[in-house]
């Protein structure tokens, strides 16, 4: 510690692209490092994901047993097992639950410090969340998938484009999920206590995202309406359908395109909400 580096990263919203990219990268790195300190929680979380994987997988396989043609909603047993186990792995990659940081900072008044930074809160938190997702992908994704592969026959992708499309789809899912969580947390600007909206999100995201059961089991019109009118199926259902190869290549690419539309839409909306909030914000705390 004999040499102190006093250089400050060039951070400017209007600055050259390179400066912004460096800042964004640095924030991703800090998000990654922050989560890599919770090693025990990672182990505990993986264990829980695996137990729920067993529960969901057995129930869905029992549905296959009884279903006409043994293909409920067009999935065979291997596709459903893949759906369940990859889904359990993705839960902490997209970070479906448990993010209350923004709401907490709004409630305590710490948000004031974020507003002083030369990076917009939406961009700053997005970068940190991408770092978190990267950490999740490296540590939380493999465990459930391995457990699933050991105890159940899973489907190996048969098309070359499935894996790259899956990676793209998961990345988009992370962004969509972040945008939704940001919006839910941002209700605290108006409500002060965002516990209610966060609970509604926790509940709705699981069911409408496709975690409890594949949304294709719903009546067709309902599933279609959810897909087009809400960002929810873009959270889990789309990446899982891609990896399970539920549809043809064209439809899969189309669904991922829909995800991209939703990713842009929720980020833009988060930006608008943030600006509106800044105009009326009274910072709490003494």
């Amino acid at each position: 510690m004999d040499r102190i580096d006093a250089r400050v990263l060039t951070i400017s919203r209007n600055g050259p692209f390179r400066g912004s990219a460096t800042t964004f990268g640095a924030l991703i790195g800090s998000g990654f490092r922050r989560y890599s300190t919770y090693r025990q929680a990672t182990i505990a979380g993986t264990f829980t994901n695996i137990v729920f994987g067993f529960l969901r997988c057995y129930v869905l396989l029992a549905v296959v047993e009884g279903a006409a043609g043994q293909q409920p909603a067009g999935y065979d047993a291997e596709q459903l097992a893949t759906y369940v186990w990859v889904g359990q792995g993705l839960l902490s990659v997209i970070g479906l639950w448990g993010w209350t940081e923004l709401a907490d900072r709004i409630r305590t008044g710490d948000i004031a410090a974020d507003l002083l930074r030369p990076v917009s809160p939406v961009v700053g938190y997005l970068a940190a969340d991408l770092g978190r997702a990267l950490h999740g992908a490296l540590t939380r994704f493999g465990g459930p998938l391995l457990a699933g592969a050991v105890f159940f026959p899973l489907r190996t992708p048969t098309r070359w484009q499935t894996i790259p499309l899956f990676v793209l789809s998961v990345t988009l899912a992370v962004v969509v999920c972040f945008g939704c969580r940001y919006l839910v947390n941002a209700t605290a600007y108006w409500l002060h206590d965002a516990r209610g909206p966060i609970m509604v999100w926790t509940l709705g995201a699981g069911v409408l995202g496709g975690l409890y059961f594949p949304l294709r089991l719903l009546p067709e019109e309902l599933a279609l309406a959810l897909w087009v009118a809400t960002p929810m199926p873009s959270l889990l259902q789309t990446p899982l359908d891609v990896i399970a190869e539920r549809d043809g290549p064209l439809l899969q690419a189309g669904l991922v395109g829909l995800q991209a539309v939703w990713a842009v839409a929720v980020l833009l909306l988060a930006g608008v909400v943030q600006r509106r909030a800044e105009r009326r914000l009274v910072v709490q705390g003494g």
Binding site: Y38, Q40, A41, A44, G45, F47, T48, V51, F52, F54, L55, R56, Y58, V59, L60, L61, A62, V63, E65, G66, A67, A68, P72, A73, L191, H192, D193, R195, G196, P197, M199, V200, T202, L203, G204, G206, V207, Y212, F213, L217, L218
Partner: protein
């Protein structure tokens, strides 16, 4: 008498604080009920694709999910908050609880009274009543007692699981979500006929831990069905015994745990 007044004061303060954020309270109450609504909804959706799951019809499955939800909702309302123990241990808040002249566990439960969970209990019992009505049950005095006792025994059973899972924080502060595998996992496990699970997973959760006696065995006894897995018909009537056994284990784990507690304060 003084003790009761102290508990009353703790509870009253909680109720007043919940009522000061009324909009949030109402949203939380609805969202909380939603959890059980979606559990039942999931069963209905799955039965759209198949006439039977694990050899059980929709009506029979509803009875199982009704018994399980009623027991779980009751336990979650009364004891579920104990899963915040890991936060108290980490923050050192537990010290404040231990120096007060009241037992620790009741205080912890009253530190956050979940009035918001009441509506969910009501909904779970509505599902149970509906399931009892749609099934053709041949009522005997024994079955009448059983249908009343099962949700209570389920409540005691889940409450014990909540306490045991929470006690883990005494030894392992960073146990994180591990308790959820048994509490919420147990709720999911007991919501379906245990015939759907494979041999070792069933042996471990259903019989070794005892989740079979929360809903599955009592449902068989109510319906008068023989157990495809071979347990005799009176096994369903064992659920209060299983609940008592789990409660004594939970009490023991809690006592050992709280003696093992070392404050994290500085």
């Amino acid at each position: 008498m003084g003790e009761l007044r102290a508990y009353g004061a703790l509870a009253g303060a909680q109720i007043r604080s919940a009522m000061s954020y009324r909009a949030s309270f109402l949203t939380e109450m609805v969202a909380n009920t939603g959890a059980t609504v979606f559990d039942v909804f999931t069963v209905l959706v799955l039965f759209r694709a198949t006439p039977a799951i694990g050899g059980f019809s929709l009506e029979e499955a509803l009875l199982i999910v009704g018994l399980s939800s009623a027991g779980f909702a009751l336990a979650d309302m009364t004891v579920g908050n104990v899963d915040r123990l890991k936060l108290y241990v980490r923050a050192g808040t537990l010290d404040a609880v231990l120096v007060r002249p009241l037992p620790a566990l009741p205080q912890l439960l009253l530190m956050d009274i979940p009035l918001r969970k009441t509506l969910r209990v009501v909904f779970a019992f509505v599902v149970l009543c509906g399931a009892v009505a749609v099934n053709d049950i041949d009522w005997t005095p024994g079955r009448l007692v059983l249908v009343v006792l099962t949700p209570l025994a389920g409540c005691v059973f889940f409450a014990s699981i909540f306490v045991i899972s929470a006690s883990l924080a005494f030894w392992w502060v960073d146990s994180g979500e591990i308790g959820a595998a048994f509490t919420y996992g147990g709720r999911d496990y007991t919501s379906y006929p245990i015939t759907v699970y494979s041999s070792w997973f069933r042996a471990l959760f259903a019989y070794a831990i005892g989740f079979a006696f929360v809903a599955y065995q009592p449902a068989l006894a109510l319906l008068g069905r023989t157990d495809p897995l071979g347990l005799p018909g009176w096994a369903g009537f064992l659920s209060p015994l299983a609940a008592l056994a789990s409660a004594s284990v939970a009490a023991m784990v809690w006592r050992i745990g709280i003696r093992h507690y070392r404050s994290t304060g500085s």
